[in-house]
């Protein structure tokens, strides 16, 4: 990304006054957003990212909620998006976690340095009281030079005061103002001089600051300006000093205050207690997703609502209008019909699973446990070229590989994304497939189950290690903030789940429809039968399976669970079931996941992944067949 583009905010959202909510991650910005805007909210995707920006009206002004960031810059998508909104804002409501002032005020000070008109909502005052911290709010207000309003948004305290204070927003004390000159060394005085000179040539102070902070996107908009000095580190250091000076003045702690959440947080990271806790959590996740959602809920939505009620109804309409025995009828309501199978698959099967996964993920995220799991898993994931953060797409992969592939965007480097996407496509069975696999494997002895699990795990580790060795470059290291452990707010969890689920359906839905259409075409043209026949030598001779099993593999190309389900129709010995399941699990990702991979990476890489899966699946299946049986 070396273009100068900044986002174009939708025309319909252009207003006389743009109010932007800005703050670090997990400080409660969305609660403010919901309070200020009420129910008429629109969510729009920020082009080229997973990031959705909510916007809504407050009187004549439009309010935007931005992604949580620790500073304004261009380190990742979140920062670039937040930067563009912040720079175009007329008024900023900076939400600050009062129990993490030292961290949060860095962003606040940066906004002040940009000369933004703003107010500060000092949120989570309840945490501050619980932790026996005291904050001199008047002193803080005087130091910052902008209104500071104490709030506890989760308990609805102070929100109305923030709303009223928006009119009192003003510009505050920048580190480039003369007031703090005595605190800085001579070197910084020179920077200030350059800042003032440069400021005469730019459109506004925010641009000036970003130019000196080496922001490549902003710099390339000013490429006519002669050389601009690189002062990011000097400015960051001065800002950090200023923030430390402010906090030293306004904060006082009672360090020794014993506190339950803190202790729980510590237990989640002490290996002796952390491992059993994680196992209990995994068991609960399995019970919720694997048993409750995948069986009970999907049993109702997929079977009762869609297969038994919706599909016959749809087929009835099509057969009485277009007819089912022609190509269009097949395309719409045939075996892989886009109005029958695709709809059932998206809404009956995937929707409950994806919603279930996002619900759990939101709870883990809001409770502060997720970053701790990332810390626990970091060492293992480092060995396959990933870091602890990759645990999120890996967990989601068990729900839906397509959904997980989208979330690999949160990984730090291109290299990590390639590794994660390949491993997801190769060795993580999605929930739809897991359901069928569990049914087949349940009839087998423990020995076969162990062979299956070990084979998949071995391939996962070997493939990851291999990619880590051959891919050039180095993966990024873990550097994350551990938020305090807190009880998640149900309303917030539900609204996050809703937003993410809707985003998933919007993004992946059309792709499932396209995939279904593609298969109908393949079948109508005889391509499907051709592939089945061509694959026979491999299935029979190398894997030791009956010839019909080839059909199961071809089905697996379409939807992974189809493949596994295709096996139930064939009489197989336990050894054959094991080999077939291993091969199928490792086999190509479904068509929707493939299309997302093309979209997320590019066609070439997706094809590599696709053929890589073929080769890995058949080699592993054949080896297991030779070695054990």
């Amino acid at each position: 990304m070396n273009d100068c583009s900044q986002i174009e905010i939708d025309q319909e959202l252009q207003a006389d006054k743009k109010i932007v909510l800005a703050g670090n991650p997990n400080v409660g910005k969305s609660i403010f957003f919901n309070y200020l805007t009420g129910i008429y909210v629109s969510v729009s995707n920020y082009p080229g990212t997973t990031l959705d920006i909510s916007s809504g009206k407050m009187g004549d002004a439009v309010v935007f909620d931005t992604p949580g960031v620790y500073g304004v810059g261009s380190i990742n998508d979140e920062e670039r998006v937040a930067r563009d909104f912040i720079m175009s804002a007329d008024i900023i409501i900076n939400v600050v976690d009062a129990s993490h002032l030292e961290r949060d005020l860095f962003l606040t000070q940066q906004l002040l340095d940009m000369d933004k008109t703003m107010i500060v909502a000092l949120n989570m005052m309840d945490e501050v009281e619980k932790n026996n911290i005291s904050i001199d709010i008047d002193a803080l207000e005087a130091e910052l030079g902008v209104p500071v309003i104490p709030t506890t948004a989760a308990k609805n305290r102070g929100l109305d005061k923030v709303k009223h204070a928006v009119d009192k927003a003003r510009k505050g004390n920048s580190i480039f103002n003369n007031g703090q000159a005595e605190n800085h060394a001579q070197a910084f005085k020179n920077i200030k001089e350059e800042f003032r000179e440069l400021n005469k040539k730019t459109a506004n102070t925010a641009d000036t600051l970003m130019l000196l902070e080496e922001d490549e996107n902003i710099r390339c908009q000013y490429d006519s300006l002669a050389s601009i000095s690189d002062y990011r580190e000097e400015i960051y250091t001065a800002r950090r000093q200023r923030v430390d000076q402010i906090t030293a003045e306004v904060l006082s702690y009672d360090q020794e205050s014993g506190q339950l959440a803190r202790k729980i947080g510590a237990y989640m990271l002490k290996p002796v207690t952390a491992v059993p806790l994680l196992l209990v959590l995994l068991y609960l996740i399995y019970q919720f997703i694997g048993v409750f959602v995948a069986q009970t809920v999907v049993g109702i939505t997929e079977e009762m609502i869609f297969v038994e009620t919706y599909e016959p109804f749809m087929r009835g309409i099509i057969s009485s209008t277009i007819g089912l025995d022609n190509f269009i009828g097949e395309l719409l309501a045939g075996e892989y019909g886009i109005l029958t199978m695709a709809v059932t698959y998206i809404f009956g099967l995937l929707l409950p699973l994806v919603a279930g996964f996002y619900f759990l993920l939101s709870i883990l995220e809001d409770s502060g446990y997720l970053p701790r799991i990332a810390v626990l898993m970091d060492r293992m994931l480092q060995k396959i070229g990933l870091n602890g953060r990759a645990i999120i797409p890996m967990l989601l992969g068990f729900g839906c590989v397509t959904m997980a592939t989208i979330t690999t965007r949160l990984l730090g480097t291109k290299r990590e994304r390639i590794i994660a996407i390949f491993l997801l496509g190769l060795a993580i069975p999605c929930s739809a497939q897991l359901g069928v696999i569990a049914g087949l494997i349940a009839q087998l002895d423990l020995f076969y189950v162990i062979v299956y699990v070990l084979a998949i795990f071995a391939v996962y580790v070997l493939a990851g290690t291999f990619l880590n060795k051959v891919l050039p470059g180095e993966s990024s290291d873990l550097l994350i903030d551990l938020p305090p452990i807190r009880l998640p707010d149900l309303k917030n969890v539900l609204s996050k789940t809703y937003q993410q689920t809707v985003a998933f359906v919007k993004e992946a839905g059309p792709i499932f429809v396209l995939g279904a259409a593609l298969i109908t075409v393949m079948e109508a043209t005889g391509l499907l039968a051709l592939i089945t026949r061509a694959a026979e030598p491999v299935t029979v001779n190398w894997l030791g399976l009956p010839a019909e099993a080839a059909t199961a593999f071809v089905m697996g190309i379409i939807r992974r669970d189809f493949g596994a389900a295709g096996l139930t129709a064939i009489a197989l010995s336990p050894a054959q079931i094991t080999v077939a399941l291993i091969t199928l699990t490792l086999f190509v990702p479904c068509i929707a996941a493939m299309m997302i991979m093309v979209k997320e990476r590019n066609f070439k890489e997706a094809v590599y992944i696709w053929f890589g899966s073929w080769i890995t699946a058949f080699i592993t299946g054949g080896l297991v067949n030779l070695l054990i049986f």
Binding site: Y70, G71, I75, S99, H100, E102, R103, F106, L107, N131, I133, R232, E233, Y236, T237, R239, R240, V243, D244, Y253, Q255, G265, A266, L269, K270, P271, P371, A374, V375, L376, D378, R379, Q382, N387, G388, D477, L478, L479, I480, D481, L482, P484
Partner: protein, 75 residues
């Protein structure tokens, strides 16, 4: 001495952060050369957890090895 040598409960001062990106990121989180930090845990072979007042951050092993520290009181 680097960060990886720190055990839970150790208090120390950050002496030098070699990598520029890490230095900038750490500045945002409130940790800079010269700050007083407490170690709040360390995964065997994995990340080190740092604590400054109520703020906790986890730093990957490779980065932690590049951050040198000195004991409080040492010059």
């Amino acid at each position: 001495m680097t960060l990886v040598d720190m055990k839970n409960g150790h208090k120390f001062i950050i002496d030098k952060i070699d990598d520029k990106q890490t230095r900038l990121q750490a500045l945002r989180f409130g940790i800079s050369e010269g700050s007083e930090i407490e170690c709040a845990g360390s995964m065997p072979g994995g990340p080190v957890i740092l604590k400054k007042n109520l703020q906790e951050i986890a730093i990957g092993r490779r980065t932690a090895e590049k951050i040198s520290v000195k004991k409080k009181g040492m010059v």
